[in-house]
C-alpha cells in the first residue's frame, strides 16, 4: 500500500487489490493543485531537448541535421527532413508502412534510430523514380491497382524493391520447399510470403502480387 508511482499500473493494481480503489494519498504533495482550474499552464521552462549533429545520406543527398538522439529514422524523415513518403502505421515494426532501403536492404525505419545510420545509403520511396519516370515497381502498382488508400503503398513498394533483390540473390523464404536450392522461382506463393511484412488493410494483396510479378518479369 506504500507504493506511490501511479504511472505504473502494477503498483496501482497492488493498491487496488481487494476491490474498489480507496483514496490512497500520494506521499508527496502536488503543487500543481494550486493552479486555478481553467488556467493555461504553458510550461515555463521550455528548455530545448538535447540534440546531436548527424549527416544522413538519403536518396543520394547528404543531409546534415541536429536531432534528438531518440529520433527514429522514420521520424527524422517525416518530421525533420520533409520526406513524408515513408509512413507511420504502427511505430513498432508490425505493419511495414515505414519500410525504406538501407544499403539496398529493406528495413522498418520506425525501429531504428536515425543516429545509427550515419554513413549508410538510405533510399526512400521518394528516391525510386527518375524524374517523371516511375520505377518499374511503382508503375506496376499503378497498372495493377496494387493499393487503395495508398498509405501502406510506399512501404509496399520499397519492400518489393528490396525483396526482388533478395530473390535475385537466391535467398530462400518460408515458402521455399528446399531452402538449400541455389535459386528462387518467384511464384505467387513466394511473393505472398516475402511481402507478408507489409500489412494492407484495404487488402490489395492479389493486386500487389500481380504488380510484383509484372515487375519481376519485366526486370
Amino acid at each position: 500500500m506504500a507504493e506511490t508511482d501511479y504511472r505504473n499500473g502494477p503498483t496501482r493494481r497492488a493498491v487496488l487489490e481487494g476491490g474498489v480503489a480507496t483514496g490512497v494519498l500520494l506521499a508527496t504533495s502536488i503543487p500543481a493543485y494550486a493552479e486555478p482550474a481553467g488556467a493555461v499552464s504553458a510550461a515555463a521552462s521550455a528548455a530545448p531537448a538535447p540534440t546531436m549533429p548527424m549527416t544522413l545520406r538519403i536518396n543520394a543527398k547528404d543531409l546534415s541535421v541536429e536531432l534528438d538522439p531518440r529520433t527514429t529514422l522514420l521520424d527524422a524523415l517525416r518530421n525533420h527532413l520533409g520526406l513524408t513518403g515513408s509512413k507511420k502505421g504502427c511505430d513498432h515494426g508490425q505493419c511495414g508502412a515505414c519500410t525504406v532501403l538501407v544499403d539496398g536492404r529493406r528495413i522498418n525505419s520506425c525501429l531504428t534510430l536515425a543516429a545509427m545510420h550515419e554513413g549508410d545509403e538510405i533510399t526512400t520511396v521518394e528516391g525510386l523514380a527518375v524524374g517523371d519516370r516511375l520505377h518499374p515497381v511503382q508503375a506496376a502498382f499503378v497498372a495493377r491497382d496494387g493499393f487503395q488508400c495508398g498509405y501502406c503503398t510506399p512501404g509496399q513498394i520499397c519492400s518489393a524493391v528490396g525483396m526482388l533483390g533478395e530473390a535475385r540473390a537466391g535467398w530462400p523464404s518460408h515458402a521455399s520447399a528446399d531452402v538449400a536450392a541455389a535459386s528462387v522461382a518467384l511464384t505467387d506463393a513466394e511473393i505472398r510470403e516475402r511481402m507478408s511484412g507489409n500489412i494492407c488493410r484495404c487488402a490489395a494483396y492479389p493486386n500487389i502480387v500481380a504488380a510484383i510479378r509484372d515487375a519481376a518479369e519485366g526486370a
Partner: protein, 328 residues
C-alpha cells in the same frame, strides 16, 4: 521514450566496459525489440551503446567442422548463408519463419536470442507483470493467456520466449560465447542461457550486466534429417503458438538418435530430452512418435486459455517427427 545518451562502440571490449560502467546502460544492435520496448517505456535505458557495427558480422568455419556465427550477423544473412542452408537447414527454416523480411534484415543473432516476451500484459505498463515490475503480480495467470507457457512456468510468470531461431539453435546444441567488461570470455550452452521464471521472471538470462554476446557456435551438423515446423494463427508474420525443431537419425527401421526442441511453450527454447530418450532405438513408427510427444508434454500444465497448446504440441511433434523420418 526517455532521454538517453548514445555512443557507437569501437570494440567489443570497449562496448562491454561502456555498458558495465552505468547501471542503466544497454547494448543496442538491430534495435527491433529494444526500441519497440523503449517507445512504451518498458525499457528505459539512460545510455545506449551501439554495437551494430562491431566486426562481429562474420560466419566462419570452426576447426571442429561447425560454424561460428558472429553476434552481429543479421537474421537474414544467417538464413541465407549457403553453409547454413545446406548443413543446418532447420536453422534457416526457423529464421525464415520468424518476423518479416524487413525485421530479419535488421535483427541480429544476439538480439534475437535476447528478445523479450510478447505477453500482452508485459507490453502494457498499466497491467501487473512480475517480469516488467517485480512483485506486481501476473495478469496473464488468470487472464488472456492463449499464447502462454505450458512448460517450465511459475506462479510468477507464464510468458514464453518468442524466438524461432533460438529453438533451432537449441536443437543444434549451439554454444553462446560472451565477452565481459574485463575482456574475459566464456561459453554458455544455449540450454543454460535463458532462465526459467521461478520467482524472478525479470531475470531472463545468466548474463551479467555488461556481458555481451560475441558469437554463437554451431557444432558440426548432427546426422539425420532436420525439420522446423511452426504453427501460428496466420500464414505469416505471427509468433508461434507452438513450434518443433527435430533432427532424426535413422538406422534401418530404427531411430538411432533424435534431437527435439520446442518453441512457444516455455520461457526458453525447450529441449525435449524425455522425448529424445523415448525415441532412441525405437522403431520409427506412428506409435513411437506419439509416445515421444506424450513424453515431451508429460509435465505440461495449461492455464485455461492455453490448454490447447498441450495437444497441439503433441500433434505437431508427432507429425514433425514423421516428416523428419519420411524425408530422411
Amino acid at each position: 521514450m526517455q532521454s538517453f545518451t548514445y555512443e557507437r562502440a569501437a570494440s567489443a571490449e570497449q562496448a562491454a566496459a561502456a555498458v558495465a560502467a552505468q547501471p542503466d546502460a544497454k547494448f543496442i544492435s538491430g534495435g527491433t525489440n529494444l526500441l519497440d520496448l523503449m517507445k512504451l517505456e518498458i525499457e528505459r535505458p539512460a545510455h545506449l551503446v551501439d554495437i551494430s557495427r562491431l566486426p562481429l558480422d562474420r560466419i566462419e568455419e570452426t576447426a571442429a567442422g561447425g560454424l561460428r556465427v558472429g553476434a552481429q550477423v543479421r537474421n537474414s544473412d544467417l538464413a541465407a548463408d549457403p553453409r547454413v542452408r545446406s548443413r543446418y537447414p532447420m536453422l534457416t527454416q526457423a529464421l525464415l519463419a520468424g518476423a518479416s523480411g524487413q525485421i530479419r534484415n535488421k535483427a541480429s543473432t544476439s538480439g534475437n536470442l535476447l528478445q523479450r516476451t510478447r505477453c500482452p500484459y508485459f507490453y502494457d505498463r498499466n497491467m501487473p507483470c512480475n517480469k516488467r515490475e517485480q512483485g506486481s503480480g501476473c495478469a496473464a495467470l488468470q487472464g488472456f493467456n492463449r499464447t502462454h507457457a505450458v512448460l517450465g512456468a511459475s506462479e510468477a510468470c507464464i510468458a514464453v520466449h518468442p524466438s524461432d531461431m533460438a529453438v533451432a539453435m537449441a536443437g543444434l546444441d549451439a554454444r553462446i560465447e560472451t565477452i565481459s567488461p574485463g575482456g574475459e570470455t566464456r561459453t554458455i550452452p544455449i540450454g543454460d542461457l535463458h532462465r526459467l521464471p521461478e520467482a524472478t521472471p525479470h531475470v531472463e538470462t545468466v548474463l551479467g550486466h555488461g556481458e555481451m554476446i560475441a558469437a554463437v557456435t554451431l557444432p558440426p551438423p548432427p546426422p539425420g534429417r532436420q525439420v522446423y515446423r511452426k504453427v501460428r494463427d496466420r500464414a505469416s508474420y505471427a509468433f508461434a503458438l507452438v513450434s518443433v525443431a527435430a533432427i532424426v537419425e535413422k538406422s534401418g527401421d530404427r531411430i538411432r538418435s533424435a534431437r527435439i526442441a520446442m518453441g512457444g511453450v516455455a520461457a526458453r527454447p525447450w529441449r525435449a530430452t524425455e522425448a529424445e530418450r523415448t525415441l532412441a532405438g525405437a522403431v520409427a513408427s506412428d506409435g513411437a512418435f506419439t509416445d515421444a510427444a506424450e513424453a515431451a508434454l508429460a509435465g505440461a500444465v495449461g492455464h485455461g486459455g492455453n490448454d490447447f497448446k498441450i495437444p497441439l504440441a503433441k500433434r505437431t511433434m508427432r507429425h514433425t517427427l514423421a516428416a523428419a523420418v519420411e524425408s530422411a
